[in-house]
Point group: C2
Chain length 333, copies 2
Amino acid sequence: MKKGDVWFFDKDIYIKEYASCVGVKEGEGPLRDGFDVIGEDDRFGESTWEKAECRMFETACRKAVEKSGLSDSDIGCLIGGDLLNQCISTSFAARDLGFKTLGVYGACSTMAESMALGAALIEAGLEEYVLCAASSHFCTAERQYRYPLEYGGQRPQTSQWTATACGAVILGKEGKVRIKAACPGRVFDPGVRDVNNMGAAMAQAAYETLSRYFKDGEKKPEEHDLIVTGDLSEVGAAIVDKLFRLDGVNLGERYGDCGLMLFDRQKQDVHSGGSGCGCSAAVLCARILPRMIKHELKRVLFCPTGALLSPLSAAQGESIPGICHLICLEDAE
Amino acid sequence: MKKGDVWFFDKDIYIKEYASCVGVKEGEGPLRDGFDVIGEDDRFGESTWEKAECRMFETACRKAVEKSGLSDSDIGCLIGGDLLNQCISTSFAARDLGFKTLGVYGACSTMAESMALGAALIEAGLEEYVLCAASSHFCTAERQYRYPLEYGGQRPQTSQWTATACGAVILGKEGKVRIKAACPGRVFDPGVRDVNNMGAAMAQAAYETLSRYFKDGEKKPEEHDLIVTGDLSEVGAAIVDKLFRLDGVNLGERYGDCGLMLFDRQKQDVHSGGSGCGCSAAVLCARILPRMIKHELKRVLFCPTGALLSPLSAAQGESIPGICHLICLEDAE
C-alpha cells in the first residue's frame, strides 16, 4: 500500500535469514562476535582485490542460504550491488551463484534499495524468497575512488574508511523480523564538493528521507528504538542530529550511524568512521538484526546513505549528490 | 503471479507514454522519424560528454512526462541506469528531475530491468506511475571502456557502435500497450574475452532467458510477432538464431535485434551494429511501441542484453559475463 511517499507492505514480509562476511580490520572491531565469516586476510584466497571482493560477496550470500536451510533453487532472485565500476563484484559473484540477478546501484545506500525492491517483489507475489546483498572493499574502493594504496595518500579527519564487508539477507514469508515499510530516497545535493567529506554530502538526504517518512508514514521518532543511518559517520551524523534539532525534534540516544558502529574510531584509526555499501549491510547483519531477534530492539529505521559521485564527476567540478533509502523493521514475535 | 522463472502481471499494467532523445548519428538513421528529440549536436548544450548524457537522460524523461499529460507529482519514482562509472548520468539527471530514484545496473539490459521492476512496484500496489529509463552516449562510453576519442583507435568488424540515446517509458494502469510478463535474466558466461565482440559474449544469455521464458511461460516463438534482443548486432544475433536452430526451433523473420535496427550498417559505418543501454531503450520508444500502437505488432518479446564487464575485469583476464532480461508486451486494444 502506498501512503504518500512510503511503501507499506501489507503482506507479512520477513527477513528469514542473514549473514555477513568481512575483512581483518572489521573482524578486529567492536562487532567481531557478530560476523559469520571473517577473512584470514583481505584477499579471500584471490589474486586481486576485485576478485577478493567478489569472493567475499559470494561467501556472504552462500552463508545466508546455508543458514536459512533453503536450497539454491528456493531463491527466486538476487538483488545486489557494490561500489565498483560496472558493479563487477555483484555480477561476477552472480555468475558463480547462478540466481536470476537484478543489479542495483545506490552507492552506499544499496542495501536498503535491494531490500525495498526485494520486499516489493514478494508483496507483488512474483517471488517467494529474494536474496539481497551489498558489498564494498577498502582496497578496491580506495584505488578506484582515490589513490593507489602504495601512494600512501594523507587522509583528512573528515574522511571515512571504506569497510571490507558484505551483508546478505534473505527475504521471505517467514522469519523473526518483519519489513514493515520502505521509503525510497530522492537525490539531494547540498553542494558539497569535498570528496573527503562524504558524510556532509549525504546528511541532508538522510534528513530528507527520514522527514518524509515521519510525515507521510505518520510516525514519530520516539516510536522507534533505533534510527540508524548508513555511513554518515561523525561529521554527517552530527549534521542529521542538528537538522532535526532545528525542527524542534531531538532524536537523542535512539539515533545512531552504522559508520560509527563498525569500527572503534579511537583505536582503529578510521578518522570520521566507516563507509561503503558493505558498512551498513554488515552492521545490519552483525548487530541490528541479532539485537532485534533478542527483542532488545522492537522497531528500527534502517537508513543507508549513498554519495552518488564518480571520480570523473568530481574532476568535472560537480558537487556530490546524496541519497538515502529507508527500511522500517519490526520485531515480529 | 510467479510461474517458474516468469513473472506474470495479473493487474493490468500498461505503458502509458514513452519518449526518446538521441544524438545526431542516430537521428540520421532509419528510425529518424520515430525519435521525439534529436540533438543539434551530441553535446546537448553541455560542456562535457558526461554532462551531455545526463542532459539527454533528463530530456527524454521530461518529454515522456510532458507527452503523458501527467504532472511531475504524479510520477511515483524513477528507475533508471546507464553505463557510466557510478551511473552518474542517471544520478545527476535524477537530482534535477526530483523524483524518488532507484538506480539499476544491468549494462545494456538496463531498460528491461527497470521496466520489470517498475511493473512489479505497480503490481504490488506501491506506486501508480513509474518512470523507467536507460541511456548511453558514444563519447562517454568510448573513452571509459576503450580509448580516448582523439586516439582514433581502429575498430574490428565485430565491434559495435554505442548509441547516443535515451529511452524513457511511463508505466501505469492505463495505456495502449500492456506489460504482460517479465523474465529476469541469469548471469551467463560463455568465456568470451574479446572486448570488441560483445555480441558473442551476450548471445547465450539471450538464448538462455528466451528458452526459460518459452518453457516456464508455456509460450512458443510463433505466438509472437516480434522477438527482439537488445544489442547483439550482427555477430550475436546470428548466434541466437543458430542456438535455437540447434534446438529445432526456427525463429525466422520474427526475430530481430535493436542493434541492427538503430543504424543503417552499410551507410553509417557502425560495423556489427549498435549497442549501449540507450540502443534498445530508444528502439523500443521510436519503433517498437509506435508499431504496436498502430496494431502492426500484437505481441512482442523485448529482450535487452548486457555485457557485465568492466575495463578492469578485462585487464585482470576475466571473461565477459552476459545477462538478458525479457519483457512481454501486448497490444491492449
